[in-house]
Structure formats: C-alpha cells, structure tokens
C-alpha cells in the first residue's frame, strides 16, 4: 500500500497539474498569444481569448474520416500516444521547477519524451496510407534529425555550465545564458524549438501550399483535435524547458511569478515573430541550416564552455 499515495500524486501531477489539464489550458492560452500576435503583425484584430478552446471543442464534435487502405488502429492511437507523451513530458519539465522534485538524468528523459509527439505524428501519418502524408512524415523525420544535433550540443553546454549536472534542478540553479557560450547555445536552441514546434520557416512537414498539410492531411475531427492540443501543449512545455535549461529556471514567489511568466511569454513571442517574418525553407535547406550552420555554432559554444570551465573564466 505504500506505493499508492505517491502513485496517486503522480497521476494527479500528470493528469491535472502541471500535466495534461494545466498544460492544455496554458497551451491554448499560448496559441491565443500566437494568433493574437500574428494578427497584430498583419494589422488584424485577432480572436478573443477563448477562441482556441472553442476551436478544439468544435473539432471534437466533427465527423471523423478514416482513410481507406490505411491502418486505422494505429491511425487513431497515434494522436493519443503523442498526447500522453506530451503530458508526461510537461509534468517532468514542470515539477522540478515547481517543487524541486528532480531525479538524476531527468534532462535526458525529457529530451526523449519531447521527441515522442513528433514520432506519434509520423506514425499516424504513415498509417494513413496517403502519399502526401508519407512525404510529410519523411520530412518530419529529417527535420527531427536536423534539429536534434544542435539541440543536444546546446544541452551539453548547459550541462557543462552547471558543473556536469544532469538533473533539471541542478541545471536550473545556474543561469546558463549569462555567458557567451550560454547565450550562443540559447539562441541556437531557440531556433531548434522553432523547428520542434513545426513553425515557419520549418513547417516543411505540413507545408499547406505544397503537400496539403502533409502529416495532417488525412486527419479530421477528434484525432485532429488531439494533435492540435498536443501542439498547443508543446508551445508551453518547450519554452518552459528552455527557461529551465538556459534562463535559470522559474520561481514562484513574490515578483518571481511575474518574472517567470515574462520568460515564458518572451520565448513564445520571439518564436512567433520569427514565424511571421520568414518564408518556408525547403527540407534540404533546413537540414543544411541545422547541420552545417547551427551545429558548428553549438559546437563552438560547447568548446567555449569547456574552456571556460577549465580556466575558471566565468563569462566564457
């Protein structure tokens, strides 16, 4: 019986707060920020705060169309798998920041869990049997490969800066961005989460004008709503993860609350501005950009961090 209480708490953490329910609500709010900022950049008024919620609810009630010749079981299970992974990932990312509940190596677990929504998207798309979805899935996979390399290097910069700590609390205790290597790594990983979110200029997997929403092409109704909700959750979880890794974490006492929200919203707005001011790249351009451009930059940041650590120069 000893394990029941912690188990119940964990279920609470993942399902209600800070996991599924809370992150979903925060995510919908974040998509509202996205739509509002986008609208203002385009000299429109933008939707009211509740609009993302209404959109999801409306999608839930819509007809679901299953593609003929596809694998329907996997097609319907994939969105749920992605949602579950996003919920657990956000619990693992939030909890150390909220109550210092961290375990050794949770950074690695978080990185793995944050790839799973993309994997779910690819499996669902491939299960649809649609050639456009298959094209989109292959692009999504290549995109994952592209941004993971610099993203991992940036993460290692943070690990080095925090004195080889591999727990989120340990890394969050150090404001990594307050050094040349840390700032460089933060900038690179900002572009990486742009791709992780599938935002322009890296929305090659969806690319409405080329492959008709690619990975999403066969999705409709409730499964599509689940995917949209997952994306919305990532729109919050990834900035929180970046704040934890690079910006010295979040604090929820006194003025810290305001400062923490500012960090998250700041990252979201940065991502949205990049999204609205750039054209889409081709997939091969994206791969080159990440592997030939950002990965060496991140490697330089790692070298600087190691030199700084070896020589004791804090600002490197």
């Amino acid at each position: 019986m000893a394990g029941v209480m912690p188990m119940a708490w964990s279920v609470f953490f993942v399902l209600l707060f800070p996991g599924l329910l809370f992150t979903a609500a925060a995510g919908l709010a974040a998509t509202w920020v996205d739509r509002k900022v986008t609208a203002r950049l385009q000299w429109r008024v933008g939707p009211p705060l509740a609009q993302p919620l209404w959109d999801i609810l409306k999608l839930m009630g819509k007809e679901v169309i299953l593609p003929r010749g596809g694998n329907h079981g996997l097609f319907l299970a994939a969105p749920l798998f992605g949602l579950a992974a996003a919920a657990i990932a956000s619990a693992i990312v939030w909890l150390p920041l909220l109550q210092g509940a961290s375990f050794v190596g949770d950074v690695i677990v978080a990185v793995y869990l944050l790839v799973l929504p993309s994997l779910a998207l690819m499996l669902g798309a491939l299960a649809s049997g649609n050639p456009l979805a298959a094209t989109g899935a292959s692009r999504e996979m290549k995109l994952v490969l592209s941004y993971e390399l610099p993203f991992l290097l940036c993460l290692v910069v943070a690990i080095v800066r925090s004195g080889f700590s591999i727990s989120l609390t340990g890394i969050a205790a150090v404001p990594v961005v307050g050094s040349i290597s840390g700032a460089l790594a933060f900038l690179v990983s900002l572009l990486c989460i742009q791709a992780k979110l599938g935002f322009v200029p890296f929305d090659v997997a969806e690319a409405e004008t080329e492959i008709i929403a690619g990975v999403y092409v066969e999705y409709s109704g409730a499964p599509l709503a689940v995917f949209k909700l997952t994306q919305a959750m990532l729109l919050v979880t990834l900035p929180v993860f970046l704040s934890a890794v690079f910006l010295g974490g979040l604090h929820f006492a006194g003025w810290g609350i305001l400062w923490s929200i500012l960090k998250i919203v700041g990252i979201i707005v940065l991502v949205i501005v990049i999204k609205n001011t750039n054209p889409r790249v081709r997939i091969d351009q994206a791969v080159r950009f990440f592997w030939h451009g950002l990965a060496p930059l991140a490697a330089v940041a790692l070298a600087l961090a190691l030199v700084g650590r070896a020589t004791g120069i804090g600002w490197l």
């Binding site: 169309i65 994952v144 091969d284």
Partner: protein, 609 residues
Amino acid sequence: MSIPLPVLPVALPLAAGILVLIVPRALRWVHETLAALATTATLALAVILFLRGAPDVRLPLLEVGGFSLSLDLVPSALGSLMLLFAAGFGFLVALYSLPAMASSGRRRQFYAFLLLALGGSAGVFLADHLVVFLICWEIVTASLYFLISTGTPESKAGATKTFAMLGGADGCLLLGIGLLWFSVRTFSIGAIRVPAEGWLLAPAFLLMAAAAVTKAGSLPFHTWIPAASEGAPAAVMAFLPASVDKLLGIFLLVRLCTGIFVPGPAMGMTLMVVGAVTIVAAVLMAMVQHDLMRLLSYHAVSQVGYMVLGIGTLSPVGIVGGLFHMLNHSIYKSCLFLCGGSVARKAGTTDLDELGGLAGAMPVTFGAFLVAALAISGVPPLNGFVSKWMVYQGAIVAGGWAPLVFLVAAMFGSALTLASFVKALYAVFLGPPSLRTRAVAGEANILMVVPPVLLALLCVLFGVWYRFPLDVFILPAVGTPAGIFGVWDASLATVLIAVALLAGALVYLFGRMWRKARVADPFVGGERVPADRLRISGTRFYDTIRDLPLLRPLYRWQEGGIFDPYVLLGKAGAGVTWVLRRIHNGILPWYLAWSLLGILVLIALFALW
C-alpha cells in the same frame, strides 16, 4: 559416477549436434525432434544452473611440460546469466525454425550447427581455462560459417567473409592469450588480474578486445554482419549475429575490463571512441539500405556501440548499462530478425521497394516489429531506453570533455535509429501494398509468430519493470550494489501513459467519434488516383541526407569498401600475390637465377654468423 551439472549444458548440445550430423538426411523428424529436445533441455539446465548454482568443475585432461589442459568450468554469476539468455534464444530460434526451415534442403546442417553453436557458447560462458575458452569460441565461429551457408546460394560469399573476419579475430584472441600466458604463466581466468600496461600486456589486452568487438560486430571489424545477412536464414541472423554473438563478445569484453585486466584510462578512451564512432557510422549506413535484412544487420552493428561505449566508461553505471543494453539488444534484435524472416517467408522478398502494406495481413507480426522497433530506437518506457539512459549517465560520470562528445553522438545516433525504423515500418508494413504483398493473406505459422511476440513482451517487461532484470540478473552478475544510477520511474510512467491513453479515448468518446466515423479514399490533391499509383518509396526517405555535401563522399567511399578491412586486406593480399605471380613466369633460367640468389644469401648469412 554422475556428470557434474556445469558440464551438461556444454556437452548435451554438442553431443546432440554431432548426433544430428550422423543421423541420415531422410530422417527429418529425428533432426527436428533432437533439436527441439536438446534446446529445451539446455534451457532447463541453464535455468537450474542460474537459480541454484553449482560447484566448480575441474577435470584435468592432459599435462605436457608446463602446459596443463583441464576442463575447468566455473559457473560465475555473469556466465550463468549469459548462458540462461543464450539457451533461451536457442530455444526460441529452434521453435521458430521448425516451420521456417521446413522447406530448406539443408535442415540437417542447420540443426546440427545450431546445437554445436549453442554448446560452444555455453562452454565460453562457463570456461575458466583460457584454452578451453578459445576452443569453445572457435566452435561457435566455425558453426556460424556452416549456419550462414544453409541460406540461399548467395550466402556462400557472406559465410566466407564471416569466417575470414571472425577467424582473423580468433587469431588475435589466440595471440592475446599467448602474450597473456607469457606474462602470467597461468591459464586460469579467475586467477588473472593484471594491469593492461607494458609491452606485453597492453597488446594482449588490445588483441583480446579486438577479438571481442569483432565477435560483437563493432567497427572497424563489423562488415561481416551485413555480408552474412544477405543470404543467411533469418533464424541464423536472429540467433548468432543478433543475440548470442553479442553475448559472447560483450561477455569477453566485460571479463577483460573487470576481471582479467585492469585497463587504464587510455584503454577506456579507446573503447569509448570505438563505441561512439560505431553508433553513428553504422546507423548512417542503416538509414540508406534498401533491404530489410541488411538494414537490421547495420543496426546490429550500431547498437554494439552503446555497449562498448558503456563498458569503455569503466564506471559502474556505464558497465551495468552496457551489459543491460546487450541483453535488451539481443531481445529486440532477434525479435526484429524473426519478424523479418516471417515477412520474407510470406512475401518472398526482403527488398524494401517490393514490400508494403503488410500491417493488415500480418497484424501480430507488425505489432511485435513495432514494439521492437520502438525499443531499439530508445522510446520510453521500453527496455532500450533504460539501458541507453544508463550508458549516457556512464558517459557523464566518466567526466572530461570527450565523453560529452560521445554522449551527443550516442543520443544523436538514437534519433538516427528511430529514423531508419520509421522508414522500415513504412516500407514493410504501413505503406501501400506492392504487387508481391497484395497476395499475402494471413500470418505466418503460429510457431513463427509466438517467438517474436514473446520477445516483444520481454521488451515491454524489461522496460517497464527494469528493476527486475537489473536486480535479478545484472547487478548480482557484476557484483555492483544497487542505487548507483538515477531512478527513472518507468512503471509509473507506463501507468501514466495508460491513464493518458484512457483519458484520450474518453475524449474520443466525448466527441462521439465512433458514431460519426466514415471511411473514404485518401485525399491526394483532389485527384482520383488508383491506390497502386499512390506508392511513395520508403527507401528514398533519406536521400536528402545522403546527398549532403559532407556525407556524400563518405557514403561513396563506404560503398567502395574503403572502410572494410576485409576488402582492404583482400586488396593487399592480391597485391602480394600479384608480385609472386610475376616471379612465377614458368621460364627455367629465372627459377635458376632465383635459386642461385637464395643460395648466395644463405652463404652470406652463414659467413657473417
């Protein structure tokens, strides 16, 4: 006099194997029964040995001068663990082979050498005498040659290459054992514990480690695995290169690093470099393969990198992670090869371009393949994730900048693994059916379905309740106390995934999806395209990456065999024989001139003496 327990798992399969070779070819049922009974009995013996242990066996065989050969079998914790798994794989593969090899004309050869390889492996795991160890090791190598050549006619080339490379590695092992003996003057494995330094012991360590990583299939001596995969039966690939060869190679490596030798940091670094390079290089090759078996075989290479990297960190968590990864790899890789074999049997090919849409016809095989593919890609909460994560921790604990680079390589390799399995899943199971696969109806024989399913279940079990294999199998085997690594609550995460899936299903129900679901043709830009025109080749998924300026030459060189020691040595050998052939021109005066020259050299030597 009763036969001591540790002798049985070695002697029984060897005797049964020889018996199968003797029994006439026509008595097919005798071969199959013998194989099934012997593997079952070996598994039972291995279980008893693992649970109860047994006293050491020391049977002196002969003594010549300073050399003494004796059959020393010591069931160590690690050895009996390895034996348990090897016997388990032997049992499952024998089960699978009953229908899978039913139409093969070389059944007798197959079952005989399957049993011999099992007996040889058991000998390796239990031997405490370096010469006995070497003999058993050779039995496995030779058996593998005969096993591979039971495949298609094209398998001969792969078998020869395998035998040449593994034979060369065995030569290294022999040389290493010789150097070791020269230095310590004993063959008793348990009694040796020397630092891997100095002009005798450092080469001895490197030679024996080279033999170990060749057996396991790590770079740079990995090329026999893809070559073997081209014609060998899937059961053979699943049994030896995918699982038991990994057990053997990593067993020796762990023995070398934690028992026989005390490796210094330089040796650890060498292993880590080998591991990290193996992970990335082999998986890059796997990504662009067009054949399912070759793709799987490159992963059988790449995954060794994690084991070697983990052991090379020389930290407890890294070594435990490396060993655990070895067990996990054996489980999911043999599952994948067995699924591949079922696909080959039903569709008649393993060419990815000619497969597709098998998820509908073979749902159980698809499920097993999917689980194993996610496990090998390190998707939590499956087993591959846990052991990789421990290897990563080992790399961080090892300290310094180089292990951090290896960490990035290993984690990135994991993403590349995922990529190539996404491609394989699409090309074999999910993509639209091809002309060949459209005719496939129904699963393979039940005996070909059960082993992969059992292995896939093990993937889930070892991932979700990973404390069980760690506490029961691995930690006692290496004598490391528990609690040395970070705790990731996998069973909790699984409950959570289940709960979240349930919640998601409720969301679906809330949307009253079932009432409104409707099946329609896929939407392709509004065109009405017949289904067979919808094929997007899975094999072209990663051409973008293949064509990158930095990688293109590497791929080209690889195809030219520049990274293949077999090809390189072959060319060097051809160069030498070319010179000799020029000398052998059949003209008598030339031969006389050479003889004269030889006599002159001899005279000069004697005169100077």
